[in-house]
């Protein structure tokens, strides 16, 4: 693993961490200046939509994190602790999960009852702050997210030197690691013609059991709900390097639709990673808000939209990257009908309706959104 980042790059990361969180801070301290860090804001207020590239990108707005301000002091301290731990990690050449970094940096402060971190929820965003600040990728900091997401299909890869035939992965499939850069994952023989990205593992199981990937000569991937970085990065690499089109299959609700948007355009929180992870060419294949009528799905397989769903739809419609008419039609129609549909609802026709009929028809008729 320690070969994944070049020695040069490693030296640069160490230098950046030391300068930004060590030398600069100490200089301010010696001059009697404010002890503050500029943190790039990673919320909606600092997210832009690049119309040309069709990507969500991060703006330049920053905020100060000042040690001498009582309500920011704790976060300031945490930032330095994480920076220190990252530097150690990079120096040691080991990688670790963000969860183990949390435990690594967690301890009781002095003789108080307060801990440096009370929960991983506190340390994770600080890692992201540091990534953005020093322009380092997570893997360059030697950190891994928890991996989730599985792939199977007509492709042979090499993972950390081991050749893996993704056609022979049984019922479980190959677990996509958190770090999928070219020095870890290499693409070998590829026969697949497209990629089907599926929201849920259960539905992915249906596709695998029905050998959909074999019949239709493709890759099937799921991300266990909102896909993690590794999955998104891998989709992007396969799209770029293997020139495979990507179809996204999600539940018909605002959450599913938003997963499509994340895969295609990027997310707010990781807006700075869109360039590496978003796939602007990704196509939305289903479930569409119009499918209920189109496929004569009975009313009883629909679920009434709850307040949370309605609120989320409203929110999404306000995003700058949700101005395409076809997308708005989907969401507006969902509101109009007042119901949502799970992928599994198609089983009312037949358990394999989704793999035998629904998907092949959609692809053949080019019934997708972009």
């Amino acid at each position: 693993m320690n070969k994944m980042v070049s020695k040069e790059k490693t030296e640069l990361i160490i230098k950046k961490l030391r300068e930004r969180y060590g030398d600069d801070v100490l200089k301010d301290l010696e001059k009697g200046n404010e002890l503050s860090l500029d943190i790039v804001i990673r919320t909606l207020s600092n997210v832009l939509f690049d119309e040309k590239e069709q990507l969500i990108t991060l703006g330049n707005k920053t905020q100060k994190r000042n040690f001498f301000s009582i309500d920011q002091a704790r976060k300031f301290m945490q930032t330095l602790i994480v920076a220190d731990a990252c530097q150690d990690l990079v120096k040691s050449g080991k990688t670790t999960s963000i969860r183990s970094l949390y435990y690594n940096t967690k301890h009781t402060i002095g003789d108080s009852k307060e801990n440096t971190f009370e929960d991983q929820i506190e340390s994770d965003p600080i890692i992201e702050d540091i990534e953005v600040s020093i322009g380092a990728l997570r893997e360059e900091l030697h950190l891994r997210a928890n991996s989730k997401g599985v792939m199977i299909g007509n492709l042979t890869i090499e993972d950390s030197g081991d050749e893996i035939d993704l056609r022979k992965m049984g019922s479980g499939g190959w677990a996509i690691p958190s770090i999928v850069e070219a020095d870890i994952i290499k693409f070998k023989k590829c026969d697949a013609k497209f990629i089907l990205f599926i929201e849920k593992d259960t539905v992915w199981g249906r596709f695998n059991e029905d050998k959909f990937w074999k019949k239709h000569n493709c890759m099937i991937i799921h991300g266990g709900g909102q896909p993690p970085r590794g999955v998104r990065r891998l989709l992007r690499r396969m799209h770029d390097e293997l020139k495979l089109p990507i179809y996204v299959l999600v539940d018909n609700d605002p959450w599913g639709f938003y997963i499509y948007s994340v895969v295609k355009q990027g997310s707010i929180n990781l807006a700075y990673e869109s360039v590496r992870m978003a796939v602007p060419g990704a196509k939305f294949i289903g479930l569409s808000s119009f499918d209920q009528d189109k496929y004569n799905l009975p009313k009883e397989v629909t679920i009434k939209l709850n307040e949370g769903d309605k609120k989320r739809i409203k929110e999404i419609l306000n995003y700058k990257w949700f101005h395409k008419k076809s997308w708005r039609d989907e969401l507006n129609h969902m509101v109009k009908k007042g119901v949502k549909l799970e992928l599994e609802a198609l089983s009312v026709k037949d358990i394999s309706f989704i793999t035998d009929t629904y998907l092949p028809e959609k692809i053949a008729k080019k019934e997708w959104l972009e």
Binding site: L26, L29, F67, F68, A73, R74, L80, D88
Partner: protein
């Protein structure tokens, strides 16, 4: 009073124990202590002497206590000893509303003679009296009351060799009960607070000497004697006054024997009551007296005089509270003179906030009437009601529904008046007149505001301390991280951070 003479005085006494303050052994000891101390304080002040009073309580037998109170007052001449100590239920103590009066402690008591009688009835022993008037002999005697004749009897009169300049000492032996809290000690402590010009020395039954120090050499302003105001007079009093007056006509009676009545006022009253102004006062019939009284209430007159009261004063309340409590914060407020039922009165309030007092208990309320502590019937007292009705939450204290606030605090309230309205003869609770409650509340509002700003300043101080603690804690971590990242010495970085933290939190 004449009719009481016929009854055996001891019998009268037995029947009226509760009114006289002898209904329990605990109360009896305090009542007698109070009578003796009040007499000493009043005597000293009348003679412009800074009081120096020594109180000794000894437990001679199981439930028998010997109490002695010695003062440096003007002393009592031999020939007046019988009158001063022996006249039971007589003299100025029982003046009623409307008669010429003066604010004094004594009006709240039953008189020292009743105390002597109680001692005598419970132990069979006479009181010992020693007194010295300046340039006169120092003598001593024993005094008991002949209960069949209701007259004082002196025995064992002696001349004493002495160096004493002036003063009086009385010693009584009585049946009582000494309580450590809410007993003689607290009584003297509260008295000391309201009378910071007095030096009180207390030797308790364990032989321990406690000194309540004098903290001011200024005697309180002497109260003036005032004639009653027509607006407050009652029929019985009016008739008694008319029977006793030296004035020859009703008009001159009204002008001479009342305050704020001029010739126009007097004529108006007579006209309204259809009474000839030249009528002799003792010739006015009962019915006519009633008309006269009604007219007196209706005629417009100047307000009662207000210079007849002698407040403790804000400075002295603060001094008094400060010396008896280890105070973190003290405030006081002397309200202007106000009037209820035409009677002038004045309210004073004080407050002590001390971290040494329990913070999770209700505050201690100490009530006074004319600087005399009120010990019993707290919840029936108008003072208590005013404190409980005040919204203490806005000043940063909790207050369980409609009662005293909770906090490490003592609140003092003194009501001064020529005639303090007690709810009963026990004279331990002040009646809840709207005007009195209003004045107490206004006083509390004033000290409450002062307390509120003190507490919020305290809170800011506390917040600062808390902030400094947080910075201290985080500084260690930050210094360690910077040291790890830069390779510089941690102690050096720590010193820099500490300096900045202190600088920025000044």
């Amino acid at each position: 009073m004449a009719e009481y003479k016929a009854v055996a005085i001891s019998e009268f006494f037995e029947k009226n124990k509760h009114l006289l303050g002898f209904d329990s052994p605990t109360k009896a000891l305090i009542t007698i202590l109070k009578e003796a101390v009040d007499n000493s304080l009043d005597a000293c002040e009348e003679a412009d002497i800074l009081p120096h009073i020594i109180v000794k309580i000894k437990n001679t037998e199981k439930d028998i206590f010997q109490l002695s109170v010695e003062d440096n007052g003007p002393g009592i001449e031999e020939k007046y000893v019988k009158d001063v100590f022996g006249k039971l239920l007589f003299g100025s103590k029982f003046k009623s509303l409307g008669e010429a009066g003066m604010q004094s402690r004594g009006q709240q008591g039953i008189g020292i003679s009743a105390s002597i009688l109680y001692s005598q009835l419970t132990t069979g022993e006479p009181a010992s009296i020693e007194s010295k008037v300046k340039n006169k002999i120092h003598y001593s005697c024993k005094l008991h009351i002949d209960t069949s004749e209701n007259v004082p009897v002196l025995e064992d009169e002696k001349k004493l060799e002495t160096v004493k300049d002036h003063g009086t000492k009385i010693t009584m032996k009585l049946k009582g009960l000494y309580r450590k809290t809410k007993g003689p000690y607290d009584y003297l402590k509260y008295t000391a607070i309201a009378n910071p010009h007095a030096q009180l020395i207390f030797v308790n039954p364990e032989g321990k000497k406690i000194i309540f120090k004098r903290v001011t050499d200024k005697l309180p302003k002497k109260p003036k004697k005032v004639a009653p105001h027509p607006h407050g007079v009652e029929l019985g009093t009016l008739m008694k006054m008319m029977a006793r007056t030296n004035s020859k006509t009703v008009q001159s009676f009204l002008m001479n024997d009342f305050s704020k009545v001029g010739s126009i006022g007097a004529k108006d009253i007579c006209k309204l009551s259809k009474l000839d102004p030249h009528t002799r006062p003792n010739a006015v019939t009962r019915d006519k007296s009633s008309d006269l009284m009604e007219a007196m209430q209706q005629v417009k007159l100047q307000r009662p005089p207000t210079d007849c009261l002698s407040p403790i004063g804000e400075d002295n309340i603060i001094k008094g509270l400060n010396k008896e409590y280890n105070a973190d914060f003290v405030a006081a407020c002397t309200r202007p003179v106000a009037v209820y039922n035409s009677i002038p009165f004045q309210v004073e309030v004080g407050l002590v906030y001390s971290k040494e007092l329990p913070s999770d208990k209700q505050i201690t309320l100490i009530r006074f009437a004319n600087k005399v502590p009120l010990f019993y019937q707290q919840s029936e007292c108008g003072i208590y009601k005013a404190v409980a009705k005040t919204q203490w939450k806005r000043y940063g204290l909790s207050q369980p529904g409609g009662s005293l606030p909770v906090g490490p605090m003592v609140i003092l309230v003194d009501v001064e008046s020529v005639w303090v309205p007690f709810i009963s003869e026990g004279k331990q609770a002040i009646a809840s007149y709207d005007e009195i409650i209003k004045e107490v509340k206004l006083g509390l509002l004033d000290i409450g505001r002062k307390l509120g700003s003190y507490l919020s300043a305290e809170q800011r101080k506390y917040a600062k301390e808390r902030r400094m603690k947080i910075f201290d804690r985080y500084s260690e971590e930050v210094a360690q991280s910077i040291s790890n990242l830069t390779g510089k010495n941690k102690e050096y970085i720590m010193t820099l951070i500490k300096k900045e933290v202190v600088k920025r939190n000044e």
